[in-house]
């Protein structure tokens, strides 16, 4: 049972990191990024490469994956989206562009996994880091590290958004991009920032993910629904939504799978996606703006004086 809870917390932490990026880029750019899950897998393979080639512990490679992930996020914006936005492409076309980008990343990941296999003379198309994990008083490293990453991210975002001048402009343009643009705030900067952070956080999450589950090039296709469910349930119009949604989806998925595995035996992991899908559908039907878009949440916010 305790293992289940640990797994649930780690998975939730990672989902928060992944959903944060999705929500931020949706707010600033207005497009749901279907390549978000592949960002994570790119992160996993960067960590694997550093481990195999220079023996760097995946936890220690997090700063590198963060930066490379940021570059990946930026190139997504520059290559796949910006040229289309300039030509006033519709939202549907932008979504197709992120699907295309996702396919390109998938192709690169797959090709790269084979290249890496050829270099290391092992099969690198499927890997886990579980055996590398450390342990403090019985608490596994993946729980400690993923929680720290979420805490650091929140703290960093809080300081940036509430304590700096750039952050205030950023918040203004996230809350109301058209108004901010009219007020002369540079919306482009907020886009660049959000895409950098989105890629960086996702790759960071991706370098911890192999401690939790097996990675193959197709893993992105397995987790993409969870990320979208987290962002939508939490509310796509509010960064805090990713936090709320990440924990709700992460914990529900893990507990649901646990209960099912007691009832039906192993091999039920896939049904966790059903619970995410149902929660997502319920949100879309009842309150598309998600939990942070409800009147009640606004009251909580006012009460917390945010």
């Amino acid at each position: 049972m305790i293992d289940v809870l640990i797994g649930a917390m780690v998975w939730s932490n990672l989902l928060v990191l992944l959903a944060l990026g999705l929500t931020m880029t949706y707010i600033t750019t207005g497009v749901p990024n279907f390549a978000q899950a592949s960002f994570a897998i790119v992160g996993s393979y960067i960590a694997l490469t550093l481990l195999r080639l220079i023996g760097l512990n995946p936890y220690l490679s997090i700063p590198v994956t963060f930066i490379l992930g940021g570059i990946l996020g930026l190139s997504t914006y520059y290559i796949a989206l910006k040229p289309l936005i300039k030509r006033k492409a519709s939202i549907e076309m932008l979504m197709i562009a992120t699907l295309a980008w996702d396919l390109i990343l998938f192709g690169i990941i797959g090709a790269y996994s084979e290249v890496l296999s050829a270099i290391t003379k092992k099969t690198e198309t499927l890997f886990v880091f579980t055996s590398l994990d450390f342990n403090i008083y019985g608490i596994p490293g993946r729980l400690i590290v993923s929680s720290l990453l979420v805490l650091l991210t929140i703290l960093g975002l809080y300081l940036l958004l509430y304590k700096t001048k750039f952050g205030i402009a950023l918040r203004a343009s996230m809350e109301n991009p058209s108004l901010a643009e009219a007020m002369g705030i540079n919306v482009e900067n907020t886009r660049l920032f959000s895409w950098f952070l989105s890629g960086a956080l996702a790759c960071m999450a991706g370098s911890v993910l192999p401690y939790l589950q097996e990675i193959v090039p197709q893993t992105g296709y397995f987790i993409v629904v969870s990320i979208f469910a987290a962002s939508i349930v939490g509310g796509l119009y509010h960064i805090v939504g990713a936090l709320v949604g990440g924990y709700i989806i992460g914990i529900s998925e893990s507990l649901f799978t646990y209960i099912l595995s007691i009832l039906l035996g192993p091999g039920v992991l896939v049904y966790s996606k059903v619970i995410s899908l149902l929660m997502m559908i319920a949100t879309v039907l009842l309150h598309p703006r998600g939990i942070t878009g409800t009147e009640m949440w606004r009251r909580v916010e006012r009460w917390l004086n945010l």
């Binding site: 207005g30 279907f34 197709i96 295309a100 192709g107 797959g110 084979e114 629904v225 939508i232 896939v270």
Partner: protein
């Protein structure tokens, strides 16, 4: 060579069916159906999941689903090799069921987001399709999952060496019928209102149209059509393997085809399907030569993904209207005006 040409023609026909159905939903109607693969999978499910169970029950076969299916498929194939009419009957029965099941799947999948804007619509459709796919893939008891199940050969009466040609002809006939059907259907006020919906849904709401109903009906029709392709595909391969119905092949590629050929233009989509399938089959067919020639340190299929991803981005950016531009809908009274007041 003949083998390659037949292969190209067969998949051309399949992609024509699926892409035309997507052109109805997305090209005309503006519905970003990122769950297109679901409807093709529904067709496969009808054959592998329903027909097989009916046959197992009919022959009274015991045992687990996958091996019972093999036996049932084998027995049915024997019968069909003597009785062409039974084979065709099964085919028509499956197509009918697939059309009904596809329509239901399409209508249900758009129901949660039918009132919302394009982004929520696209995300929800994709999520539903992905989750159904994952379940059918990992649960081998529904339709064989990653192991796959055999299905009967409904053209078993055709001598072995002509089998593939027969299936190709069958697929081409289906594609032609779908094309004629959609051309007739869309050169009408229905096509006009779909385009109106694509351009500005609020406007057509203000002019009395129930947008939700329009979307549900259109998705039902589009999914019903695409399910036919699923049926033809699994009979051709004599098996249902769920991997074959993934999002890349049956959602992304149809979008690529519609964009390449020209969204809102059925002729363009047919042309787009031809160009795409030609490219894809050449890469598939010569994958070892490509790998060797380019000294690729990986399988050519990854290169294929990268190439088609880049192609999609290029089209989106430089030729979003596709090879053949959309044309106005000229109903007969409008056509006669073209002559009187040009």
């Amino acid at each position: 060579m003949v083998e390659l040409i037949t292969l190209i023609l067969f998949f051309f026909a399949l992609y024509v069916i699926v892409s035309l159905s997507l052109n109805l939903e997305f090209g005309y109607g503006g519905i970003p159906n990122f769950g297109k693969a679901l409807s093709v999978l529904t067709g496969a499910l009808v054959v592998g999941g329903i027909l097989n169970r009916l046959l197992i029950w009919y022959f009274g076969i015991e045992g687990d689903f996958i091996s019972a299916s093999s036996l049932a498929a084998y027995r049915m194939t024997e019968i069909v090799s003597q009785n062409p009419l039974i084979g065709l009957g099964i085919f028509l029965f499956c197509v009918t069921m697939a059309v009904v099941a596809g329509a239901i799947a399409g209508a249900l999948s758009i129901l949660p987001s039918a009132k919302l804007k394009g982004d929520y619509l696209g995300v929800t459709l994709l999520a539903i399709s992905e989750v159904v796919y994952l379940i059918l893939f990992y649960n081998t008891e529904i339709v064989g999952g990653y192991y796959g199940v055999s299905v009967p050969d409904i053209l078993a009466f055709v001598p072995g060496e002509y089998r593939v040609y027969a299936y190709t002809v069958l697929a081409l006939i289906c594609a032609l019928l779908v094309y004629l059907f959609l051309e007739k259907l869309l050169n009408s006020p229905y096509g006009r209102i779909l385009r109106g919906h694509r351009e500005n849904e609020d406007l057509i709401k203000a002019f009395g149209r129930d947008v939700m109903k329009l979307r549900i009906k259109t998705m039902a029709l589009g999914s019903a059509i695409a399910a036919i392709a699923g049926v033809v595909f699994v009979f051709y391969s004599s098996s249902v393997v769920v991997n074959a119905f993934n999002r890349v092949e049956w959602t992304f590629y149809p979008f690529l085809i519609v964009l390449l050929g020209g969204k809102g233009n059925n002729k363009g989509v047919v042309l787009g399907a031809f160009i795409f399938v030609l490219l894809k089959m050449l890469i598939d067919f010569y994958k070892f030569d490509i790998k060797y020639l380019l000294h690729l340190p990986f399988e050519a299929v990854w290169l294929q993904y990268i190439v088609f991803g880049i192609l999609a981005l290029l089209i989106l950016c430089y030729k979003p209207e596709g090879i053949l531009k959309e044309e106005p809908i000229y109903t007969p009274p409008i056509k006669s005006r073209l002559k009187t007041n040009p």
